[in-house]
């Protein structure tokens, strides 16, 4: 045996031992919880045998406490790079079998290193969180640079340059939770993951796992973009999402030959969309119908359901979808849907993904509580994001678009490139009766009898109904047959694909937050 082989064998054995993390017992315990180990997760995330680990050797820095005697393989985190669907991606994954995945100096340094590499090499990064928090023994003496601050700095610099995805597949508490949310997309797994910023009050019965469970974050807090039923689904969905995204902000999103005919007529659409303006329907059915192979990747599906956001492919190219959905609050905009809209818009704009809107929005939701929550301030985020977006913006007005809604579902105000409508379109500031009342207030006041007043109103209503009809049609660029929506979108996207829109130079904008 040559010395080369001997050395290789020696190192290989050492590596294999380190790759066992906390050892067979801890791995078994993890499996019992329905969880995979860090390396098993990575293996499922990347293409077969396409992962190169880095910084495996080394372990934790010494702390001066008893803990220094124990072995801490990889300091509780696996880092490296691999390929997903043939495209490179950086990955780091906390290893829950090693001291519960607690974060310490070298642990954080290793993560920061792959973050910096990903940013420099312009490759997406996926971070897998599974940790009980900071490692107390290390935190006492940790150097100022080995802190979550370092991670957040790289994440911020990389924001808008490379796609960043957080998979919360176990614990994620304190600053780690803030760091996780700095990514563009955050995934959680039902039953096994939790995320909170603050510790619960010492005397409370609440458990962090209960407060920060995925259902809460997916439905109420809006912090969890995708909730998976188990770990395998989570990793599969992450692969699927990466398939939609470009590697960085200088690249176009990847093209996938879907084989679906762009001319395909959507005959079923008439059964989905009720002509009556007051009947709710699930807009997602329309989106699926018109997408390539009827595939719709929804983001934040259970949160603010009055607006649906997600990705589809049209003629094989990635498109971001933003659509009002009348199944909740009749599709009215509100505080929550504003945040959802604005964040998604800005992501797509940063990564050259054209936006397609399907509008069916009667207004912003009328409620005192919404006003006091600052719906104005939040609505501004959407208008800002929509105005700012320079990717192609194509709006199909399915049914209604009233009042402030025409600022967030772009028409001419926020510079849509196309805005066309289906024949059942209704547009304007408000309905005809409201218009008649407000514009003839003076005349009606001056009327001497009730009859005279009624007549004035009736006359005004007639005029206004006529105006609304004209306005609804004439304010659109064109009216299309709903069954030709897919054909229209495919052609519009092809026509706008080289769009360039310059903006004045600046450091960055100062949008409402």
């Amino acid at each position: 045996m040559s010395s080369f082989e001997e050395k290789w064998k020696e190192i290989h054995e050492h590596a294999q031992k380190l790759e066992q993390g906390g050892g067979a017992e801890t791995i078994e315990a993890l499996h019992k919880e329905g969880k995979l180990t860090a390396r098993e997760r990575i293996a499922k995330l990347v293409d077969q045998n396409k992962f190169q680990e880095i910084d495996l050797f080394g372990g934790a820095y010494s702390t001066g406490f008893d803990i220094d005697d124990s072995e801490i393989p990889g300091d509780g985190v696996v880092t490296g790079y691999g390929e997903v669907k043939g495209r490179p991606v950086y990955i780091w994954a906390q290893d829950a079998t090693v001291l519960d995945g607690t974060m310490a100096s070298n642990h954080i340094k290793k993560i920061s290193i792959v973050m910096e590499k990903a940013l420099r090499e312009k490759v997406p990064i996926v971070g897998i969180f599974d940790s009980k928090g900071m490692r107390m023994q290390d935190a006492v003496g940790a150097h100022g640079h080995f802190t979550p601050g370092m991670m957040m700095r790289f994440q911020t610099l990389a924001s808008g340059v490379i796609p960043q995805i957080s998979l919360v597949m176990g614990g994620c508490v304190g600053m780690a939770a803030v760091s996780a949310r700095l990514a563009d997309f955050l995934f959680m797994v039902k039953g096994t993951s939790y995320m909170t910023v603050a510790d619960p009050e010492p005397d409370s019965d609440e458990d962090v796992k209960e407060i920060g469970k995925p259902e809460m974050h997916h439905k109420h807090s809006g912090c969890c973009d995708v909730m998976a039923k188990d770990e395998v689904e989570c990793l599969e969905k992450c692969r699927s999402l990466l398939g939609f995204l470009p590697s960085n902000n200088q690249e176009e999103p990847p093209f996938v030959d879907t084989g679906d005919d762009p001319q395909r007529r959507l005959d079923d659409i008439m059964d989905i969309v009720p002509a009556s303006p007051n009947k709710a329907f699930d807009m997602r059915k329309v989106i699926r119908l018109m997408a390539d192979n009827e595939f719709y990747y929804e983001i934040l599906g259970d949160y603010a359901q009055n607006l649906t956001t997600g990705f589809v492919r049209m003629e094989g190219r990635t498109v971001g979808i933003i659509a009002n959905n009348s199944i909740w609050r009749m599709g009215c905009m509100d505080v929550d849907s504003s945040g959802k809209h604005a964040k998604f818009t800005r992501f797509c704009d940063a990564f050259n993904i054209p936006l397609v809107y399907l509008s069916d929005c009667p207004a912003f939701f009328p409620s005192g509580a919404e006003e006091r929550k600052g719906v104005l301030r939040h609505g501004c985020m959407v208008i800002h994001a929509t105005s700012e977006a320079t990717v192609p913006k194509i709006n199909v007005i399915a049914r209604k678009l009233y009042g402030g809604a025409c600022m967030v579902m772009p028409v001419n105000f926020t510079k849509a490139d196309r805005y066309v409508a289906w024949p059942i379109v209704e547009r304007g500031v408000m309905g005809a009766p409201g218009l008649a009342r407000v514009t003839h207030l003076g005349k009606m006041k001056r009327a001497k009898t009730q009859e005279e007043k009624d007549n004035i109103f009736k006359e005004a209503l007639k005029i206004m109904e006529e105006r609304v009809k004209i306005h609804s049609i004439a304010t659109n660029e064109a009216i299309i047959d709903p069954r030709d929506t897919r054909k229209f979108l495919a052609e519009a996207l092809r026509c706008t694909q080289f769009k360039v829109q310059e903006r004045a130079a600046r450091k960055h904008e100062n949008m409402n937050l």
Partner: protein
């Protein structure tokens, strides 16, 4: 022929005619409407504009503009000189500024296609000229006859498709971060058009029964969902200052509002390429403050951070914004040796200076504004970290809290962090550390910088010893005391490079001034991007 013409027309007549016509155009909505405006203790649009600008510097544009015909006779018959708005440019304290103002005396300042085109012109011109603009808002919203009538079914005025022209919703985001934008609300604003003033960097509202702003008006809320609310509950200046956090400042009169705008402008550069103006003050840069030492010895809960701020800035003058919203965080402008700086400070007096959703939103936006306009930042830290509340988590604490570290990490202006009291529970990362790009981290000797609870730390770190100790209680107490003395101190933090220096609290002001002076040429380049994707 021309010779003949000049013989028959008197040149003086031409000018007299011009002046008379000009005066006519300036009469606004007529005597009754003007009297009505005065009755509400409101100034006229042009009076407000004249007050804002240095005397005789205001040049009005498009005074002669008239609305398009709408097809509704009762509106078309009206004479609306300038279409219910005043726009133009002039100088404020010698520096050029654009302005637009609604004229409430003409059809209650309602907005039409032509008025929008004027207002948009003011905003777009400001971007082109690289100067700030001020919008003085006093309008009852969209003019329905105009919106539903012919003007909007004609090709939009200065609308889309016309190159660089925007419109009143597109232009503020387009100008954002390029020039400072300020809105002063001295009258109502309704529905969707409220968005335009809120999209500015700063909004100042007058406290008055005539000033309110809500997206949906109370009658509509009642009609649609049956909920009874009043304007005072959802749209008054105070609601927006205290609860929604939409307005930055509240003023009592028109005059005070305009003075406030001028003061705010004095802190700001004209555009993102300029540095903020330096205004000499007579406050010595090396002034030390004796009181600060005493304050530093007080417990956190006994201090108001305002006291510290006032003692370190020039002449104790602090221009606080959003003072009534999320009071556990203080933000605002001050000068250090004449140089503008933004101050971001925890206030331990309110909610122990804890970090919550509102605090993050307020501070992050302020930091991003300062970064846009080359205004250095000074952070004063005294906080025990995040609020612990299920409601906050449910409302998306992660999402909102992440804005603050994002804003700090993204900013490239000089940044100084000073630990004045307690700092624990993640507060350090919400107020900037060196690893997040802060240039100078100082601490008062009495400050504590530890992310660790000593009791918990001892229990974990000495688990084995505690189990084996003869007298575990005594051992534990000793260790906790030792931990507090050795670990939870600034000197330990210094050893770990968490702070760059530990300073005499009395020399805080000279230290800041010296640093800002030395850091003023700072340059830092971020990776090329269209924009980041800040959590929203």
């Amino acid at each position: 022929m021309q010779m003949g013409r000049s013989e028959t027309i008197n040149p003086d007549d031409v000018i007299e005619d011009l002046l008379r016509k000009r005066e006519d155009q300036k009469k606004g909505g007529g005597e009754k409407a003007v009297a009505n405006q005065r009755g509400k203790d409101k100034l006229l649009a042009r009076e407000r504009v004249e007050l804002l600008f240095d005397e005789g510097t205001f040049c009005e544009l498009d005074l002669w503009a008239e609305p398009l015909r709408t097809g509704f006779d009762d509106v078309d018959e009206k004479h609306l000189p300038g279409d219910a708005s005043v726009i133009g440019y002039g100088k404020v304290n010698g520096r050029p500024v654009m302005v637009y103002a609604h004229d409430f005396t003409q059809m209650t300042g309602t907005q039409s296609a032509v008025q929008h085109s004027k207002i948009t012109k003011a905003m777009d011109m400001a971007v082109k000229m690289n100067i700030p603009y001020v919008g003085i808002v006093d309008s009852a919203g969209i003019r329905l006859q105009d919106m539903m009538g012919e003007p909007l079914t004609r090709p939009p005025v200065r609308g889309h498709g016309l190159g660089e022209c925007g419109n009143f919703m597109f232009s503020p985001p387009n100008a954002s971060g390029v020039i400072p934008q300020i809105a002063l609300m001295l009258g109502p604003q309704f529905a969707g058009s409220s968005y335009s003033p809120i999209m500015k960097d700063f909004l100042i509202m007058r406290k008055s029964p005539n000033v309110f702003m809500s997206l949906i008006s109370p009658p509509v809320i009642k009609e649609v969902v049956g909920e009874e609310v009043t304007y005072d509950e959802i749209g008054s200046a105070l609601v927006h200052a205290e609860i929604t956090g939409t307005t930055d400042l509240v003023v009592d009169t028109d005059e005070e509002g305009i003075e406030t705008v001028k003061e705010l402008l004095s802190f700001l550069p004209s555009n993102w390429k300029e540095r903020p103006p330096v205004i000499e003050t007579d406050d010595p840069p090396d002034r030390k403050d004796q009181e600060l030492l005493d304050i530093s010895l007080k417990e956190s809960e006994d201090r108001d951070m305002h006291d510290i701020i006032q003692r370190i800035v020039d002449n104790g003058k602090f221009f606080e914004t959003k003072p009534l919203f999320a009071k556990n965080m203080i933000v605002g402008f001050a000068r250090f040796n004449g140089q503008t700086a933004g101050i971001v400070a925890n206030n331990p007096k309110e909610k122990q200076g804890k970090i919550d959703i509102d605090v993050s939103d307020k501070a992050a936006r302020f930091i991003r504004f300062c970064d846009c306009f080359n205004i250095p930042l000074v952070f004063l830290v005294d906080s025990i970290g995040f609020v612990s509340s299920k409601e906050e988590e449910k409302a998306g604490l992660e999402r909102h809290a992440a804005k603050l570290p994002y804003a700090i990490c993204e900013s490239t202006v000089p940044k100084i962090t000073i630990y004045t009291g307690e700092c624990s529970g993640g507060a350090e990362y919400m107020m900037g550390t060196e690893s997040m790009g802060v240039d100078l981290v100082l601490a008062w000797p009495t400050a504590t910088i530890g992310q660790i609870d000593p009791e918990r730390a001892v229990d974990i770190n000495y688990e084995k010893e505690l189990r084996e100790a003869e007298n575990p209680e005594k051992f534990r107490e000793e260790k906790i005391r030792a931990f507090k003395e050795e670990i939870c101190t600034v000197y330990h933090a210094g050893a770990r490079q968490l702070v760059n220096d530990i300073v005499d609290p009395r020399s805080t002001r000279p230290m800041i001034i010296q640093a800002l002076d030395c850091f003023k040429n700072k340059e830092e380049t971020l990776p090329a991007k269209k924009h980041g994707n800040i959590p929203l």
